[in-house]
């Protein structure tokens, strides 16, 4: 065996050993974390959202090789499942969400969901980005462009705000999921300004206040 082959063999051995150590270590999920958590999720463990994929690592490798070689119809998750809205709902499901996901599966919203991907939590809330919301502040226009409020309680009526397309003002009074224990402002002058809202949607302070109608569960039950 020449020196080159020896070095390659040792390198291969060390690489495989490192991979094996990472795979069996409880720290491997942290090592694989692709980015900062959404504000409020910092204290969660990885397995709060990522459930273990069925089967052993050997079965998963076997199944994926079978899939790649055409002996299986579908691949399987390796290690952990990719979270979806059901995983979010395990902690955040509420009976009175102002914008529940299932409503956007309705045919009338076919155009709207091309603009706002509200049929899944992940359409607006991307994890490991370090932000609360990844969409802009004007998405309300996708559904509420024909808004009519009789006996409008706001000093500048909604019909004027809609006609003037002042969509960045919506979140100044209304929190999207309606989970804050508060009343919406009645004067537009009291609305949170767009910079405050943008900052909050990113990772800034919460202008709506901390009190929630339905607090999220701290960990997957």
């Amino acid at each position: 065996m020449n020196t080159k082959t020896k070095i390659a063999g040792i390198g291969l051995f060390l690489g495989l050993a490192t991979l094996l150590l990472v795979a069996v270590s409880p720290l491997h999920l942290q090592a694989l974390n692709p980015g900062p958590m959404t504000p409020g999720h910092e204290a969660l463990s990885c397995t709060s959202c990522h459930t273990e994929a069925p089967g052993t690592a050997r079965q998963q490798i076997q199944a994926n090789l079978a899939y790649l070689t055409g002996f299986r119809k579908a691949p399987v998750a390796f290690g952990y499942e990719t979270p979806d809205s059901n995983d979010c709902s395990a902690c955040h499901a509420r009976p009175d969400d102002a914008h529940p996901l299932h409503r956007f599966a309705e045919p009338r919203f076919v155009e709207a969901v091309r603009v706002v991907r509200a049929t899944t939590c992940l359409g607006c809330h991307r994890e490991h980005q370090g932000t609360r919301v990844s969409s802009n502040t004007e998405f309300c226009a996708a559904c509420h462009d024909d808004l009519v409020v009789k006996n409008d309680p706001v000093d500048i009526p909604h019909r004027i705000l809609v006609a003037e397309e002042r969509w960045s003002t919506c979140l100044g009074c209304h929190d999207y999921h309606g989970n804050r224990a508060r009343e919406a402002q009645k004067r537009l002058a009291d609305a949170f300004d767009v910079q405050t809202i943008r900052s909050y949607l990113s990772d800034g302070p919460d202008p709506y206040g901390e009190a929630r109608r339905h607090p999220a569960k701290g960990e997957r039950p």
Binding site: T5, E106, H144
Partner: protein, 272 residues
């Protein structure tokens, strides 16, 4: 030469590890498994689902809300607010049934819409407008598919059946139409399903999910009622002549099943 031998040995060990000594292969996921025989048009399931929901809403409206109001029970739009002492109005009962269907992960989905809704977000848009206009003319269901959503859609007329429907919509401050009359087509119940055909098992499972959603929605109302001051007694009696009472979930569901069993048997089992 040595290198090739080592690689071949490594591959051989890996193959033995993965395939010869490995535990049994993982089963295919339900979606990838060979499809069951799906020879029933989804219309059968949608019709049956609508039958159950329509009966539940009729019973809820005529035997809970209307007589309940006469004995002091209150129903409102804010029933899910923590401070509210009300129960769901009939349309919101349907909304709760829809949410409970979704919570079960059912492929079936339920919505309520109109061309004159109290909330603009419930107004039909796009293709639904045309189908609803036709439905208003002959009061017959409409079935169509929406390829963009990969959904089969059915619209069923939603007819003003109780005085409360008419008075509530006529008197509501945000109602765009204030001259509703009994018997008017006030809107349409929309059902969707992702496939054009279902298996016998999926049909039975879908119907069971609708019954379960109705039961859970009614149970949520009872749960709310138990938290209000001086709650009505909950048991086997209905509100009205028997006083300020509410049927328990079992009694309510018995009434729903009694009202639907024969038609479900015909439509979904005997396929008549």
């Amino acid at each position: 030469m040595m290198r090739q031998v080592i690689i071949a040995l490594l591959l051989g060990v890996a193959a033995i590890y993965l395939f010869v000594t490995a535990p049994p292969p993982l089963p295919e996921t339900a979606r990838a498994q060979a499809p069951q025989t799906s020879d029933l048009p989804v219309k059968v399931l949608l019709d049956a689902a609508n039958l159950v929901n329509a009966a539940a809403r009729k019973i809820y409206t005529e035997r809970i809300v209307t007589p309940g109001q006469q004995v002091g029970l209150v129903f409102g739009e804010d029933w899910q607010e923590a401070h509210s002492k009300t129960g769901p109005l009939p349309a919101l009962f349907l909304r709760k049934v829809a949410a409970e269907l979704q919570a079960q992960g059912a492929p079936l989905a339920l919505f309520l819409g109109s061309d004159q809704p109290i909330s603009p977000s419930n107004a039909f848009k796009g293709e639904q407008v045309r189908h609803f206009a036709a439905l208003k003319e002959d009061r017959k269901p409409r079935y169509f598919d929406m390829p963009a959503l990969r959904l089969q859609v059915a619209l069923y007329p939603d007819i003003a059946a109780a005085p409360g429907c008419v008075s509530c919509h006529n008197e509501h401050p945000n109602s765009p139409k204030t001259d509703w009359r009994l018997g008017d087509v006030m809107g349409a119940t929309t059902w969707t399903h992702p496939r054009a055909a279902v298996s016998d098992r999926e049909l039975r499972q879908g119907i069971a999910q609708v019954y379960a959603a109705v039961e859970r929605a009614y149970a949520a109302y009872l749960e709310k009622v138990r938290r209000i001051p001086d709650p009505p007694s909950i048991g086997s009696a209905w509100p009205g002549r028997e006083g300020r009472r509410l049927p328990d979930a079992e009694t309510f569901m018995s009434a729903v099943k009694e009202a639907t069993a024969a038609q479900i048997l015909d439509a979904a089992v005997l396929l008549r």
